[in-house]
Amino acid sequence: MIQESFKLRNVEFKNRILVASGTFGYGDEVPDLVDIAKLGGIMTKSLSMKPRDGNPNPRIAETASGMLNSIGLANIGVHKFIAEKLPTLKRHDTKIIANIAASSVEEYCGVLELLDVQDGVHGFEINVSCPNVKEGGLSFGTDVKLVSLITKELRRRTQKPLIVKLTPNVTHISEFARACEAEGADAVSVINTVIGMAVNINKRSPKIATTTGGLSGPAIKPIALAKVYETVNAVKIPVIGIGGIVSWEDAVEFFIVGASMVQIGTANFINPSTGVTVAEGVKQYCGQNGIDDVSKLVKSLRTNKNVSIVDSWL
């Protein structure tokens, strides 16, 4: 019997494998493809107060072992989400974490307050790191004072788990994690996409309409692992690892480095049930290695202290 569950604040996740925001729709596209009850939780598509059309096309481009996207937080808006999506989402035997993206502190608070009273919503992930929208998004995520302020204001408004999702597009992600910890966040998610670009050499134009986009997929896994390493060595709150996970082996890497939970993003586009196979694989790995609780895997990295450049700024 292997202990897979994880408790964040007052919420118990049946396992530590979540699906990442914006890569699983609202959970209603995949029922025939995925046994959602085997997932620890679903991070919803980022929700804003008003519906957002999102960015013009093309919005995606494939790169070497990765992809660029610039969806631009297209979403149906929090009201429609509550009215039309939440009722079906609630029926799934898994935890629903509402991911919120906004262009002002007020909007973050407003959206959270509307969702906080919904019993189908078990917690919040705050996206302060979307590289594809100019008001809000990354402009918030690279300003540690704003991230502190947003965290503080939201913390005052909810007793549910509050997770802040950080951007890797900063010099020292640990500063941001510390700010979130100081303002009472229950966890941080590391990482959102990495700013990237691709060019169509026939048209001599960017492959996506917004010139730059967010890079995701296996290509960024090493970057994500390094950011998780930096973060787990800077804060005591749990870190949720994200970036390039396509297999259970990838997830185990994140746990060993110190992630308490992980999220599957881009891999859902290729194999929507990746989260389920990852959960099974992690469990098997633990069994074969005599680990009776995944928590014993977390931060079990055998390494010489202070050999990494990252250690020098922690």
Partner: protein, 254 residues
């Protein structure tokens, strides 16, 4: 919709450049409809994303696609052997059949290059009673497929086969000679071609439906990456993979 590992049953060269790949799937063959596509993982590692292919034919429990090698994924697909397995997701998207009704006399199929892919299956399920004209255009004869089509007229840019010119020139030429009553156009091919033909159709008071193509990350509505701008209405964008791929051409900005 399902994700399946299927076994390649056969490879056939329809032309020097176009391959037909046939595999076995009881599930797909039972429910797939003309105009739908499947999304293929050509390899476990590389390229990362699946590659979408229209369903070309369904014969018993055998499904086939046709493709030409244009890049990494299609090259790897062409390298596979009979007996190899491939990982597919499908059926995806809507069907041409939803747009076949009593409101027209003649269906006009217009295919550009590999855009011919969905029409063979569509032809098979097209109501016997109705008139059907098929216009297939391509750069040269090695890119022309006629297998399983009805009343086919061919146009090639280089004149190596059939009419010398674009498929639209061919249509104009034919329509100058023959009358087909109320027409409904069904298009699949390069966007530029589809736009030109759609404009022609509308000028002539015909209705027109096009199967759109765009790069897709998921093909099943998860990523929101395949948006097409609407000409009007409530929503600014729709998802090609899920709300399409087939749209009434005046409803979208081609």
């Amino acid at each position: 919709m399902k994700q399946e590992i299927v076994t390649i049953h056969s490879f056939e060269h329809l032309t020097a450049e176009i391959l037909e790949l046939t595999f076995v799937s009881d599930y797909l063959s039972a429910i797939a409809k003309p105009g739908q596509f499947i999304n293929i993982r050509v390899d476990n590692n590389f390229p990362l994303l699946r590659r979408p292919f229209s369903i070309f034919n369904v014969d018993g429990n055998k499904i086939s696609i046709v493709f030409n090698v244009i890049g990494t994924g299609t090259k790897m697909l062409a390298r596979k052997r009979v007996g190899d397995t491939i990982d597919i997701v499908g059926p995806c998207g809507n069907s041409f059949l939803s747009f076949v009704d009593g409101s027209f006399d003649t269906a006009v199929f217009v295919a550009g290059g590999i855009g011919v892919a969905p029409f063979t299956f569509f032809t098979k399920h097209f109501p016997q009673g109705k008139n059907l004209m098929t216009y297939v255009g391509g750069r040269h004869k090695e890119l022309i497929v006629e297998k399983g089509l009805r009343n086919v007229k061919v146009a090639t840019d280089d004149g190596s086969m059939g009419f010398h010119g674009t498929v639209l020139d061919l249509i104009k030429d034919d329509h100058a000679k023959n009358k087909y009553g109320t027409m409904r156009f069904f298009l699949c091919g390069p966007t530029r071609m589809m736009k030109a033909v759609a404009d022609y159709a509308h000028e002539h008071g015909a209705s027109c439906y096009a199967s759109l193509e765009c790069d897709m990350a998921c093909g099943i509505g998860l990523c929101q990456g395949c948006n097409i701008e609407m000409a009007g209405g409530d929503k600014k964008y729709r998802l090609v993979c899920k709300e399409g791929t087939i749209f009434e051409t005046q409803s979208v900005k081609l």
